[in-house]
């Protein structure tokens, strides 16, 4: 099999601002046509990485190549990308038509061709009649779509989205998520989006790059990131996770507050090491526990927080009151089992759903 060539190859990228290191030896490959999300808390370096790829904030060291071409030292104008900012950066004094056509006018196309292309793009983003309006007359969501059309107008090979949905309200954000994703799939344009919203990343991305403190913590599909977080940071940042302090006593056993739990076999961790035993609240089993089920724990319900579709229960181990896990209980379950504060019941932590982090 021939070696796979990637559309975008980032190698050993570092970026320092004075004494502050924003990116530390970051390497990453992006396949052509892929939708990649950079996810992380603010200050993790995700925007810096995006701006390095665009050439707006050049890296201190390392290389970037796009479609086999080394673009590391090229100014932005000589790179091939379209960009959409959180602020939209629409030109307020130009009409929507002029905004979308801004990059086309420079390419010596005739007026008819430009007008046709602009109309096509506006139809594509679902704003066929917005042409004569000015940005200030559009809603936030509409402005974002115009910005998207403008970025796509010159048919760039790479689309960069810098927190494009952060300034919108929740409902519009949900709808635009689907629209952007559908558009990207139709056009097949390689896309990188920066976001701090895990739900956004999980629903939109083909692959997620989770970043923290200037390094990549994990790269994977949304399922991989959620099901098999590679580090404690990823486990904590994406979704909810219970952390229980314990000690690894055998490659596949962790002792928490005197109780032994079976877990998937751990490589690279020596017995005797302090670890965190982790499980997601929705993975905690309560109903129909077989008699011989592994990791059974008798608990007492300490708190019940109503969240709408379900309740998040805080459960304290009967044997050790300082060990607690949260679990998601559906309304049905609460009704069927008559769960209330103080109820005593047995739960099980399925070994294949347990994660162990040093």
């Amino acid at each position: 099999m021939a070696a796979m060539t990637y559309y975008l190859e980032v190698r050993n990228l570092s970026k320092r601002f004075g004494d502050f290191t924003a990116l530390r030896d970051v390497s990453l490959d992006v396949v052509e046509g892929e939708f990649v999300c950079f996810l992380g808390p603010s200050g993790c370096g995700k925007t810096t990485l995006l701006r390095s790829i665009a050439g707006l904030d050049p890296q201190t060291s390392g290389t970037i190549s796009q479609k086999g071409r080394d673009i590391s030292a090229l100014p932005p104008a000589q790179r091939d990308f379209g960009i959409v900012f959180q602020s939209y950066a629409l030109f307020p004094n130009l009409s929507v038509t002029d905004n979308v056509g801004y990059g086309l006018v420079n390419r010596r196309q005739n007026k008819g061709a430009i007008a046709k292309r602009v109309a096509e793009l506006l139809a594509l983003v679902g704003l066929p009649d917005a042409g004569p309006k000015y940005p200030a007359q559009l809603s936030g969501g509409q402005q974002q779509r115009v910005a998207l059309a403008r970025a796509l107008a010159t048919s760039p090979g790479l689309l960069l989205l810098d927190e494009p949905l952060s300034a919108l309200d929740a409902r519009v954000r949900l709808r635009l998520r689907h629209e952007i994703k559908a558009l990207q799939r139709t056009l097949g344009v390689t896309t990188i989006m920066v976001t701090h919203d895990q739900e956004e990343a999980l629903t939109m991305a083909d692959r997620i790059v989770v970043m923290n403190h200037g390094v990549i913590e994990q790269v994977g599909t949304p399922q991989e990131i959620y099901r098999r977080p590679a580090t404690a940071f990823v486990a904590d940042f994406v979704g909810s996770m219970n952390f229980m302090a314990g000690t690894l006593v055998a490659p596949d056993r962790v002792k928490v507050a005197g109780v032994d739990f079976a877990c998937p076999p751990q490589e690279g961790l020596a017995p005797g090491q302090k670890v965190s035993l982790c499980i997601r609240p929705e993975d905690v089993r309560v109903r129909d526990l077989p008699a011989n089920i592994a990791n059974r724990v008798p608990v007492e319900v300490a708190e019940l927080d109503f969240v709408g579709a379900f309740c998040r229960a805080t459960l304290k181990a009967q044997a050790a009151a300082d060990v607690a896990v949260t679990a998601d209980f559906s309304s049905n379950l609460i009704r069927d089992l008559g769960v209330e504060i103080g109820t005593k019941l047995d739960i099980a932590l399925p070994p294949d759903r347990l994660r162990v982090f040093a």
């Binding site: 320092r16 601002f17 004075g18 004494d19 665009a54 050439g55 707006l56 050049p58 890296q59 201190t60 060291s61 390392g62 590391s72 030292a73 090229l74 100014p75 932005p76 104008a77 000589q78 790179r79 990308f81 379209g82 960009i83 900012f85 602020s87 950066a89 030109f91 307020p92 004094n93 130009l94 009409s95 801004y102 990059g103 006018v105 420079n106 390419r107 000015y134 940005p135 200030a136 007359q137 403008r150 970025a151 107008a153 010159t154 760039p156």
Partner: protein, 562 residues
């Protein structure tokens, strides 16, 4: 640990190269307009009359001449007294404008700005009519004389009032209503709210206003010239040394002494401004004053009083200019407006002023806005941009007389290839633009900072040259600021006396200078008439700006509407 990170050398795009070339060119222009003339002035202070280097001899002789040294003390005294009067007065006025319910607020605001449109000698002339040897109210002085420190201070208060009021209005206008609500909910007394919320909020405005007034008084020349009598100040000394005694070296020394307090005030202001943080966050709720009878009556009365004083001074100048022979024949006439009778140039000097002001407005606005844009938007190139930034701030600290003197030494120096500019309209325009560079540059830079910083990134990604975005997007968005700069330059070019008084040739004499000359020759009425023409012109231009802003540009800028 080093702050300099040895980085990857990133290639420069055509835009980058063009911008950098622009910054270098701008630095060269500013150096020619400011840096080199000031350097020439500095050097002149160390030469004797024949141009031989004499070290500090001139300075020694300056400080050992009691009469000259006394002028420095006089300047400080006048500046201090004026500051102590103007700042509280302007604070109350600004407070009335922003924090009380004032009937016809716009009118009071407009009246407070009138002195800006007048050359500084206008209040001096008006005071002569009111309290001079043959003044209306001379008896009120009880044997005292308006010529001297009293006259200077009163005229300076008139002249400096709008500047302090503008700064304090801005400072007081930015208040968060929630701070006041919080204080009231906590049961704080009005007095305590004033001292713990209002005053601290305006602290930087007060300091800034005091420093601006102090500098204006120290560096102003027109008032002391007209009404100073035998009370000498630094500014009149420079004039006497250079024009009267042709002692350029000593003039340069006095100029350097004049530079010191102005530069010091400027430095203090920069330090204070750096400490200031935005009090008004994006989430602040603007304070809207609620009616309160007693307070509103008091402040309306106060504003009426101040406005009456301003209008009296302006009105006196206008009336005086229309009177046949003060105080013996009070019948009205337009004879005093026939300037040819009093000055060889006649009305030509007025048209020179208009031409000069238009030139300064066009050339200056172009240079200031393009320059600020180059300096804000160029990527990297920190050193050179720092140089430009420094040069752009320099004029704020340099009195007009000092700059004008520097121009003589620099442009008149034998062998200077720019010598052809000497005694032309060009040098007057150049000098005026240089003198008022800082405010224009700051206005442009502020406007540019307010627009989305990503416009240039978007243009680069769309492969559109940066200058195209400048012409199509940046400049149109900043049109209001561009017009503000142009009007500011026009008005100041019409009224300035200090920087241009050394630079005119017989055929390029300006109206403000002609007014000084006519007054010197003893014809107060004609000088007043010329001042009135200047006021009317600059006020008319400002009014045209406001009207155009309201009707014409509203149509040009539909895109601002939601």
């Amino acid at each position: 640990m080093s702050l300099v990170v040895p980085g990857l050398k990133v290639g420069l795009s055509r835009d980058d190269l063009m911008m950098r070339a622009g910054v270098v060119l701008l630095a060269a222009i500013l150096l020619m307009m400011l840096g080199l003339p000031l350097w020439a002035l500095l050097a002149k202070g160390f030469e004797d009359r024949d141009g031989k280097f004499v070290g500090l001899a001139n300075y020694v002789s300056y400080f050992s001449t009691p009469a000259l040294f006394q002028s420095a003390l006089n300047s400080l005294q006048v500046a201090t007294i004026t500051t102590l009067i103007v700042v509280p007065l302007a604070f109350l006025y600004a407070y009335a404008l922003t924090r009380t319910v004032l009937p016809m607020r716009w009118l009071f605001q407009g009246i407070s700005l009138i002195p800006i449109f007048a050359p500084s000698l206008l209040p001096g002339l008006a005071l002569i009519y009111l309290f001079g040897t043959q003044g209306f109210f001379k008896a009120l002085l009880g044997g005292g004389s308006i010529y001297g420190i009293d006259g200077i201070v009163i005229a300076q208060v008139f002249y400096c009032f709008p500047h302090a009021t503008l700064i304090l209005t801005t400072a007081l206008a930015t208040a968060d209503a929630r701070l006041y609500e919080a204080a009231e909910v906590l049961g704080t007394s009005k007095r305590r709210i004033f001292f713990t919320v209002t005053l601290p909020g305006a602290k930087y405005g007060l300091i800034s206003a005091a420093l601006v007034v102090f500098t204006l008084v120290i560096t102003d020349f027109g008032i002391a010239k007209v009404i100073g009598g035998n009370f000498n100040v630094l500014a009149t000394d420079v004039y006497k040394k250079v024009i009267g005694q042709q002692d350029f070296s000593m003039g340069a020394v006095v100029g350097m002494v004049l530079l010191a307090p102005a530069a010091l005030a400027f430095l203090v202001d920069r330090l204070v401004q750096r400490k200031q943080v935005a009090l008004l966050t994006a989430r602040a709720v603007p304070l809207v004053p609620r009616p309160k009878l007693g307070r509103d009556l008091f402040f309306t009365a106060f504003c009426l009083l101040v406005s009456a004083a301003i209008l009296t001074i302006l009105g006196m100048a206008i009336w005086g200019s229309l009177i046949k022979y003060w105080p013996y024949n009070l019948s009205l006439t337009l004879d005093n407006y026939d300037f040819a009778k009093f000055d060889a140039n006649g009305w030509d000097s007025y048209w020179n002023s208009v031409r000069m002001a238009l030139g300064a407005a066009v050339f200056g606005t172009l240079l200031m806005f393009t320059g600020a844009w180059l300096n804000e938007k160029t990527r990297g190139f920190g050193m050179m941009r720092g140089v430009v930034q420094f040069l752009a701030f320099l004029p704020m600290a340099v009195p007009g007389l000092v700059l004008g003197l520097g121009y003589i030494f620099f442009f008149n120096a034998p062998g200077n290839p720019l010598g052809f500019l000497y005694a032309t309209m060009g040098i007057l325009v150049l000098n005026t633009v240089a003198h008022f560079y800082t405010v224009g540059h700051l206005t442009a830079a502020t406007a540019l900072k307010q627009i989305d910083p990503e416009f240039e990134a978007v243009s680069a990604s769309l492969k559109v040259p940066i200058w195209r975005t400048f012409v199509r997007v940046t400049a149109p968005i900043c049109l209001p600021a561009i017009l503000d700069i142009a009007i500011y330059l026009f008005v100041n070019a019409m009224t300035t006396v200090s920087s241009v008084i050394f630079l005119y040739a017989p055929d390029t004499k300006l109206a403000s200078v002609a007014a000084v000359n006519i007054e010197e020759a003893g014809t107060t009425a004609a000088a007043a008439a010329l001042c009135v023409v200047i006021v009317l012109t600059s006020a008319a231009v400002k009014a045209a700006h406001l009207i155009a802003d309201r009707f014409l540009f509203a149509r040009l800028q539909v895109w601002r509407r939601r």
